[in-house]
């Protein structure tokens, strides 16, 4: 049976309203197309898809972020704070012990002029909401990894490919190995590149992908073959960032060292420093705050900055009680050209009740 912890839910909603959040609602059935375009076909394995004879494919909402962002982009208040509560639905193909339905209470903050302050506000508020429960916090910053990729001394095509796969760690690694010359060029590609006119073999055109598109890609492959490999030094720096697992102040000092060799991460590192200051002003003990360089890369959300998870300290078997982060890029994708800085977090009141022994 699903735990429906009404008491916790109401307490959290009230708390978030007291902090200026407006209560918003989202339909349980969401148009599938938006979510599919955002997350790709993979989401079909994680969300329930159903269909309506008139509206086409619909999805039982796997999260609130997308509908809340869409609603905000249509309204456009700045800054704006929202809270919501309700069930989310997650299809489970591999593990029958994981819940397929659970409630979430969220707090989202759009706009504002100080992202560090906004990050700190959300993190602190979510932590306060869980007060009384011993928690372990894990944090990260996808923005630093993205800045590091953008700063590599290599082609724009390679950087785009890496950025596109930031949230797919295995593919990201395979690309790095290839761009760094660690894995050899596939034999068929080498053969293709050795031909004077590979397009001569491109006969029997069929389908929507045109001859011109094939030709453009061959040019791109040629350019890539000419580009020197990403240097071992830069690969090491990326590996260091990905492998970071220290307290936040320690990480900050390591990142400042890395920035000497990779100045492109300067502004992302300064942003992290401002965030730590803001967290400190909000009363967070940043000296003991954990930071992981790869945190948030495999979650459902397309976080692209600060990310955090709060775990029950004495229940390592449970998923995080709360998660959140910054998703500026998502607002750009859903905002049809416009974008707004956005950061938010969700709490699972059911887990909270379980940890507190109320379930």
């Amino acid at each position: 049976m699903t735990v429906k912890p009404t008491l916790e839910t109401n307490r959290l909603l009230t708390l978030f309203q007291e902090h200026g959040a407006q209560v918003v609602h989202a339909d349980i059935l969401q148009p599938a197309e938006t979510l599919l375009d955002l997350y790709g076909e993979d989401i079909r394995a994680r969300a329930y898809v159903t269909s309506d004879p008139l509206r086409g494919e619909m999805m039982l909402r796997p999260d609130f972020t997308v509908p809340v962002v869409q609603m905000h982009m249509d309204s456009g208040a700045d800054p704006a704070r929202y809270t919501y509560a309700g069930e989310v639905f997650r299809r489970q193909e591999h593990d029958p012990s994981r819940p397929i339905e659970y409630s979430q209470v969220g707090y989202e903050l759009f706009g504002g002029h100080d992202p560090a302050e906004a990050d700190a506000e959300v993190f602190t508020l979510i932590s306060e909401a869980l007060e009384g429960t011993p928690l372990r916090a894990a944090t990260g910053d996808i923005g630093i990894l993205m800045a590091a990729v953008r700063g590599l001394r290599t082609t724009d095509d390679r950087k785009s490919a890496l950025l596109r796969h930031i949230w797919r760690p295995r593919r990201f690694r395979a690309l790095l190995d290839r761009f760094g010359g660690k894995t050899p060029v596939p034999a068929t590609r080498a053969a293709l590149l050795a031909m004077d006119d590979p397009m001569a073999k491109a006969v029997g055109e069929a389908g929507l992908r045109s001859r011109a598109e094939v030709s453009v890609r061959i040019d791109a492959l040629r350019a890539d073959a000419k580009a020197p490999p990403v240097s071992a030094e830069e690969l090491d720096l990326l590996d260091t960032i990905l492998g970071l697992r220290e307290t936040a102040p320690m990480v900050l000092s390591i990142l400042r060292d890395i920035a000497l060799d990779l100045p492109a991460i300067d502004s992302a590192v300064s942003q992290m420093a401002r965030r730590l200051d803001a967290l400190s002003r909000h009363g967070v003990d940043v000296d003991s705050l954990e930071f992981e360089g790869s945190f948030g890369r495999t979650s459902l959300e397309y976080y692209d900055g600060f990310v955090f998870g709060l775990y029950a300290a004495d229940r390592p078997d449970l998923p995080p009680v709360a998660t959140g982060g910054r998703y500026d890029a998502l607002t750009a994708v859903l905002g049809r050209g416009r974008s707004v800085p956005a950061v938010g977090g969700v709490i699972r009141p059911g887990l909270l009740a379980e940890i507190r022994g109320q379930a």
Binding site: E41, A45, P96, R168, V214
Partner: protein, 229 residues
């Protein structure tokens, strides 16, 4: 009590299954008229023959309504989530072999690997405004495979037949389908990605872990296993 053995109800798969059991001293045959889908097993007591569509056998095994069943290993992987926990492989039968593969138009001289497919999909999406379409009826297997290999910016479109024609008909840019010789693919101007083998399928005798197995059933199963071993 008897063990229920599910076998494909028609075609080559049925004939080959009958042959396979016959070679092991077990005669399977349809009872009564040819159009009747019930059958008998001779050579062992306590086994009941159920004839049904190969596509339904995975579901019946997963539900525990069949104790044993013969079907393609591709169908089990496609239709039964966490199949290893619910079903067990008793014997690979060595026929009905076919590969589930990803194929693209031959004139895509720039695409030979999944890495190429991923790059082509990204470029296709930004140019055409929608995700590159892959026609298939093996949704779960293809999706898991592409996720594990980090391919993005594609969409699966359902195709229950004549999938090889999807590209020419412009309902898809690539396909994922079963092939044994590759002849139909070539005839339709398609080629297989060099690392695009999703699953090498063959007819397999499965047992259900979800069915009720009485002590008598287990004894029958032990005798059966001794015969087919």
């Amino acid at each position: 009590m008897t063990i229920k053995l599910g076998v494909p109800s028609k075609g080559r798969l049925m004939e080959k299954t009958f042959d396979w059991f016959a070679a092991r001293g077990l005669t399977l045959r349809k009872s009564g008229q040819d159009r009747e889908y019930s059958g008998v097993v001779e050579g062992i007591d306590g086994v009941e023959l159920v004839l049904l569509s190969a596509g339904e056998i995975p579901r019946e095994l997963a539900a525990g309504r069949l104790h044993l069943g013969v079907t393609g290993s591709d169908l089990v992987r496609e239709k039964v989530a966490i199949w290893e926990q619910r079903l067990g492989e008793v014997a690979l039968m060595g026929f009905g072999g076919a590969d589930l593969i990803i194929a693209v138009p031959q004139f895509w001289v720039d695409v030979d690997t999944l890495d190429d497919l991923d790059a082509a999909a990204a470029a296709f999406r930004s140019r055409h405004g929608f995700r590159l379409r892959i026609a298939t009826k093996y949704h779960r297997l293809v999706r898991d495979f592409l996720r594990d290999n980090g391919v993005a910016d594609y969409q699966l479109v359902d195709s229950q037949g004549a999938t090889e024609g999807s590209v020419k008909n412009e309902t898809a840019e690539a396909i994922a389908d079963i092939t044994s010789t590759g002849e139909t693919l070539r005839a339709n101007g398609l080629k297989i990605l060099s690392d695009g083998l999703i699953h090498a399928s063959q007819a397999t005798l499965f047992k259900s872990r979800m069915a009720e197995w009485s002590d008598d059933d287990r004894a029958v199963m032990a005798r059966l296993e001794a015969m087919i071993d």
